[in-house]
């Protein structure tokens, strides 16, 4: 059975319909990437799954339960954690305190604060430092750690690469296999298509709020992805 099941989802961002009639399923322990250009509705989709915005219509089912009308904090308790776009750390709290807030509704599971610090060893000696003083890449790591501290069944990663140098992005993604090894299901949104293809089992491509392509990462061709990403109609010659 799929862990996350999205059916005919419509989400408005202000007046604009950012996600339109979207169907998406994510199987347990899978890694699914959603790619798409700027403004394709990726972040809106993630925020709707995490409960930060109410969808206009459609349903979101998590582990067989309809959670469409649940507030965000209840979804965290049920096992959905979002690493939000732009990281959104608590600026006046220290690294360690940020991680601790993540454990506010901690479910039983493998991720404890020491375990998270093991994943990102530099945190050990900088745990007392205010989060605002960290570099972008370090903040991203803390944001991931904060989400992991809740022991989510479904981890939502929104644009991990945003505003980071490629080398830093690689370092962040290097932590992903260890996270997946604990059986966590991951749904990630990424503008960097090659990065997404490298880590995901399955890829979906959004274009203007609709899912225009879906398939196994290994089977999609570059031409197919390009066409879906930019919305190029393939005209028969």
């Amino acid at each position: 059975m799929s862990l996350l099941d999205i059916h005919q989802l419509v989400v408005h961002h202000g007046q604009l319909a950012a996600v339109i009639d979207l169907d998406l399923t994510v199987a347990e322990s899978d890694t699914v990437a959603v790619i798409g250009a700027n403004g394709a509705g990726k972040t809106t989709l993630m925020r709707a799954i995490a409960g930060a915005i109410r969808p206009t219509s459609g349903t979101i089912t998590f582990d067989g339960i309809d959670i469409t009308s649940w507030p965000a904090h209840r979804r965290v308790a049920a096992g959905i954690s979002l690493v939000p776009e732009g990281r959104r750390l608590f600026a006046s709290l220290t690294v360690e305190e940020n991680l601790l807030t993540g454990g506010y509704r901690r479910r039983p599971g493998p991720w404890t604060i020491p375990r998270i610090i093991e994943l990102f060893p530099w945190m050990a000696e900088r745990r007392k430092q205010p989060a605002a003083e960290l570099s972008g890449g370090e903040q991203q790591a803390v944001a991931i750690g904060r989400a992991l501290a809740a022991n989510p069944r479904l981890l939502l990663l929104d644009e991990l690469s945003l505003g980071l140098a490629p080398i830093i992005v690689q370092r962040i993604y290097a932590a992903l296999p260890e996270i997946l090894a604990t059986g966590t299901t991951v749904l990630l949104v990424e503008q960097d298509v090659s990065q997404a293809l490298r880590v995901a089992d399955e890829v979906g491509c959004l274009l203007a709020g609709r899912c225009v392509l879906r398939g196994a990462a290994s089977e999609l061709t570059a031409a197919e992805i390009e066409a879906a990403y930019f919305g190029i109609e393939r005209t028969p010659r």
Partner: protein, 289 residues
């Protein structure tokens, strides 16, 4: 020696101001709510205690024990039922709602208790004091008040810096949406912060009422003291509020020492000077706590 006495008395009075102001500081720090009903809440607590004491044979101590939890519950309900709704609309509407609450409380008190001046009877405690020497004697009541102020502020500080819910209050103050995304029900967190603020304002209101008489119109005058303490100390910092309260108390007693008519003016002048030359306050807070 008179000056030493002035400074000691001013510091003790400042403790009361700090105790009174810390709820205002807390609500602003966590929710950015400026509670214009703060002074009236203190007066309401005094009248409630007055009622408890006249309806039963309980003493002032038990009245305090009864009124404070009542106020905490009241605070939780006000936040969930009233302020939370207005926060969704705009900060300005929240200001208007607390102003409305202030008017409602004043008029309800006037309706129920009339405009007569009342006092809380604390028996012989009111006149007991420790005599240090010919000039200096410290009344038990101001010593107790000062001790309570320190205890409350240190406890709040520890709660915010170490406690699980306190930490989440600071987190919600930084980024309320991100706090809900890590699993906090922000409405509940805010309501607890308000409950704590109401409990402290009730305690301060009762300590005020034990040292001087009160009537329903006193709230706004009291509110000014809390504002001055918070602004002098630095917005959103509890240590700052403690320092601000003490500076205000000192300014008032020193003013009164120069000329009894200068009591209030002394405080206002320091307040205006801080606003003009150090608007961030004496201990500016980058963070709450």
């Amino acid at each position: 020696m008179t000056w030493v006495n002035t400074i000691v008395q001013g510091t003790l009075l400042g403790g009361l101001y700090a105790l009174f102001a810390c709820g205002l500081s807390m609500m602003f720090g966590v929710m950015r709510i400026v509670n214009l009903a703060h002074g009236d809440l203190a007066v309401l607590a005094a009248f409630l205690a007055y009622s408890v004491m006249s309806a039963t044979s309980l003493g002032a101590f038990w009245a305090v024990i009864i009124v404070i939890p009542l106020f905490a519950v009241f605070g939780y309900a006000v936040q969930r039922g009233l302020l939370q709704r207005s926060m969704r609309i705009s900060p300005l509407s929240t200001l208007l709602v607390t102003f409305g609450l202030s008017v409602v409380i004043q008029n309800l008190l006037l309706q129920t208790y009339s405009a007569d001046t009342r006092a809380l009877d604390i028996g012989s405690l009111v006149s007991k004091s420790v005599r240090i020497n010919a000039q200096i004697s410290l009344s038990y009541l101001s010593l107790i008040t000062f001790a309570l102020a320190i205890i409350v502020i240190v406890a709040l500080q520890l709660y915010l810096s170490r406690g699980r819910t306190g930490r989440m209050m600071r987190a919600a103050s930084d980024d309320a949406e991100a706090a809900t995304l890590v699993g906090a029900d922000s409405r509940h967190i805010y309501a607890i912060a308000t409950a704590i603020a109401f409990a402290t304002v009730a305690l301060a209101g009762l300590m005020f009422a034990m040292r001087s008489s009160f009537d329903p119109s006193l709230g706004p005058t009291r509110l000014i003291f809390a504002f001055e303490a918070v602004v002098i100390g630095g917005l959103g910092s509890l240590w700052g509020t403690l320092v601000g309260g003490i500076v205000l108390g000192l300014a008032q007693t020193i003013g009164a020492q120069l000329d009894p008519a200068l009591l209030l003016l002394g405080g206002h002048i320091i307040f205006l000077a801080i606003l003009a030359f150090r608007p961030q306050g004496l201990i500016p807070a980058r963070r709450l706590a």
